[in-house]
Amino acid sequence: MTRKTAGPLRRAVRLRSTKIALVILGAVAVLGFLGGTLAPSDPLAQDTSNLLAGPSGAHWLGTDYLGRDVLSRLMDATGRSVVGAVEAVTVAFLLGVPAGLGSVVFGRVFEWVAQRLVDAVMTLPYIIFAIAVTGIIGNGRDQAMLAIGVLLAPLFFRVTRAAALAFTRAQYVEVAELLGASRGWIIRTHIWSKVLPTVAVTTAQLSAAALLAVSSLSFLGIGVKPPAPTWGGMLSSDLGFLAQQPWAPAIPALAIMLTAGSLNAIADAIRDTTGIAVDPIGRGATRPDAVPALPGAPAVAVPEQEERIHA
């Protein structure tokens, strides 16, 4: 991170919503790595004499349909649920961001091909595509997340491209080109650091979206290997026992909600703070009209994305 973006990011961190979100995400991260170890009891240990019990001293959140401790399962599920989201976002990032930058600097043919590919991928519905992919290459989390990652990539592509477009016409970039600087050097030195805040916002928002996708898929039994707990899987199995434990689905749902909500809060904070403080490139830009697109881009992209996740 360069000095220019450190300022607004620091301002973002100072917001109260960001602080709360960071605490929650910190807890999620700790549980993600150590959840199984920290759990008060074995998340897989069954006790069939104590099925669907309510909260008690021994089981703070009660037990599930096989008498397993819900709190331990919730903690153990954290890593599995979050890693899935990270996988999908990583895939999307690696596919979308370089292609997005490339579409701006590597000439018309690359641009045209990349744009058409992205248009095509954006027409596919997330969950259904992921189910189809797991049907063909195997019902595993990695397969499902690969599919989700591929479908999220266009959002990275579009956002990165929109952000980068504004800078490629900047005078100092044109000067660098005239002086014979390579495209790679220009991207590294002049463009990347300015695109980064936008990409950071998108990453946070897509992480939340990917977490919801992971949870939706595991709710449907995709990418889950029983008996390993996942948040979506717990939510799904709890629904079968509403008559006994009407409150049970709220527990994994809350975990999903808080994590996704924290990621969105951080994304909002970065966007708000960087949006104001973005380097006023308008002075030297040949296309000043492109400036407002920078903070606006993720805001436009994301609602569309969320609609699709719920489809």
Binding site: L44, Q46, T48, L51, Y65, L66, G135, N139, G221, V224, K225, P226, P227, S236, S237, L239, G240, F241, L242, A243, Q244
Partner: protein, 508 residues
């Protein structure tokens, strides 16, 4: 506060009046014998509406709405007349002649005469892809005499099971006009002579049927129309009945209390449905009989039945439930839960440090697989659970037979011998190893040769059960009754062991 209390009282009084009114209403309905109405059943849709290619035992319930068979089973499981008004075996049981009722027709108007029955039965035997052909293996030829209304079946060997067998899918008579014109179309457009006629079908969603006025037993069909839906999810079963989306639904054991609390009638009907693990003895480590034996002893069936069925299921080591003629009481504790013995058997089989086995499961819930996994872990078996989509289960498990171990449910069959064929036969859907020991084949032969009303029939059938349970790898766990919840406006349902039929049922 007082005012609120008063209002509350008012609501209470109002609702009790309402309840009383409902009670009166349903009482008057059943006594007055109201005709007509539509019954919406949340049960299951079908793999195919063609009885010859339907690949799931469950289908028989839905198919019996659209098709009538030559015979049907009474509440005890004995064959009684249906399309055939009587039948008669020859002296040595190698020929059986069915006499059809007079004036039968199919729902497409084709006359249901002896020739039609002959064509339909022959199709079951010869249609490529027929899944009932194995059951008709003993049928040598079928002769029809339209004037005398008789269908004479020549058998290759003595077989007294034919009337039972023909109560199910095997004996459902399909209109020859329909299958001669478009055999494949039957999968979505059934043409039979059942109590109802299919008018609209959306695969995996719904089937709508209307009363077929020419049905032979029309006097006992009081419903104008019938709608079939997949069984609702556990969480939505009771609300679906309360809201009126369904009138009758199959519900899991976990919902019984909720259904009763919601004021629904819950009927627990004894059934043949038995939960079982299918074992493929051609796949390691099950090629070693000691491993299979070890698995049979490693499972705590009581804990499985109590947990999975909320106490409704009964531990069972055999394919027939207690009280059914084929149930051998001497097998009631055939493989007692004994982890130490299981461990010893595994060690003798060459797996002293345990063994890894994949367990295939299907459907929404993996609870059974998870519990089996935990129980087997105690004897050193490491099960990895593989979940396959329900839509692929038939193909993977029943046609490819590619899985070593799978959770499964046996729906029961109309004839005991047919049950044996499905579970243990070389073509049996639930015998992935495709091998049958000769002594079982011999014992089954003896069952076929014994008339159902012969005093020795129970003994002979139980002997076959014993051999099957001891020699075959199928691991029977527990038998679960059929739990049907219904709205109060629906009259009591018949208690049928095999096919749930709707004779005499009224809806208010």
């Amino acid at each position: 506060m007082g005012r609120r209390g008063f209002l509350g009282l008012g609501v209470l009084a109002g609702s009790s009046l309402l309840l009383a009114a409902c009670g009166d209403d349903s009482g008057s309905v059943s006594s007055a014998g109201k005709e007509g109405g539509t019954l919406r059943w949340g049960w299951s849709t079908v793999t195919s509406w063609d009885p010859v290619t339907s690949s799931a035992g469950w289908d028989v319930h839905a198919l019996s709405l659209a098709y009538a068979a030559l015979t049907k089973l009474d509440e005890k499981g004995n064959p009684v007349p249906a399309l055939a008004e009587s039948w008669k075996y020859n002296a040595d049981g190698t020929q059986v002649a069915f006499t059809l009722r007079d004036g039968l027709t199919f729902s497409d108007g084709t006359p249901l005469n002896a020739t039609a029955v002959k064509k339909s039965l022959e199709r079951g035997k010869s249609f490529p892809g027929s899944l009932v052909a194995a059951q008709l293996a003993t049928v040598k030829s079928v002769a029809a005499d339209d004037d005398a209304r008789t269908v004479t079946i020549e058998l290759a060997a003595t077989d007294y099971q034919i009337p039972s067998l023909l109560a199910g899918k095997t004996g459902m008579i399909v209109s020859p006009t329909a299958f001669e014109k478009d055999a494949k179309g039957l999968a979505t457009k059934p043409v039979g002579a059942g109590p109802f006629r299919l008018t609209e079908y959306v695969p995996n969603q719904s089937a709508k049927l209307v009363r077929f006025p020419e049905y032979w037993d029309k006097a006992n069909i009081h419903l104008d129309a019938f709608e079939l839906y997949p069984a609702p999810e556990a969480a939505t079963a009771v609300p679906a009945l309360q809201s009126g989306r369904l009138d009758v639904a199959q519900i899991p054991g976990s919902q019984v209390e909720a259904a009763k609390a919601a004021g629904l009638e819950v009927q627990v009907i004894p059934s043949l449905v038995t939960t079982v693990l299918d074992v493929n003895i051609t796949v390691k480590p099950f090629d070693n009989p000691k491993v299979v034996q070890a698995f049979k002893h490693a499972l705590d069936r009581k804990a499985l039945a109590d947990t999975q069925t909320f106490g409704l299921g009964v531990v069972n080591y055999q394919p027939f439930p207690p009280g059914y003629v084929g149930h051998d009481p001497s097998l009631d504790n055939a493989f007692p839960y004994d982890p130490a013995k299981a461990k010893k058997l595994l060690a003798e089989a060459g797996f002293p440090d345990g063994v890894e086995v994949p367990l295939t499961t299907t459907g929404v819930s993996s609870a059974l697989a998870e519990q089996v996994q935990a129980q087997l872990a105690k004897v050193g078996v490491k099960l990895t659970i593989e979940t396959i989509p329900a839509a692929q289960a038939t193909q993977i498990m029943y046609i490819q037979h590619s899985r070593a171990l799978a959770t499964d449910g046996f729906a029961g069959r109309d004839s005991a011998v047919q049950a044996f064929q499905v579970l243990f036969g070389e073509q049996g859907l639930m015998n992935p190893g495709r091998q049958t020991p000769p002594e079982l084949t011999a014992a089954l032969q003896k069952v076929r040769e014994t008339p159902l009303d012969d005093p020795s029939y129970p003994t002979v059938l139980r002997a076959a059960t014993k051999i099957a349970v001891e020699k075959m790898p199928n691991i029977f766990l527990f038998t679960t009754p059929r739990v049907l919840a219904r709205k109060k406006s629906v009259s009591e349902l018949g208690s049928f062991l095999a096919v749930q039929r709707f004779e005499g049922v009224r809806v208010g």
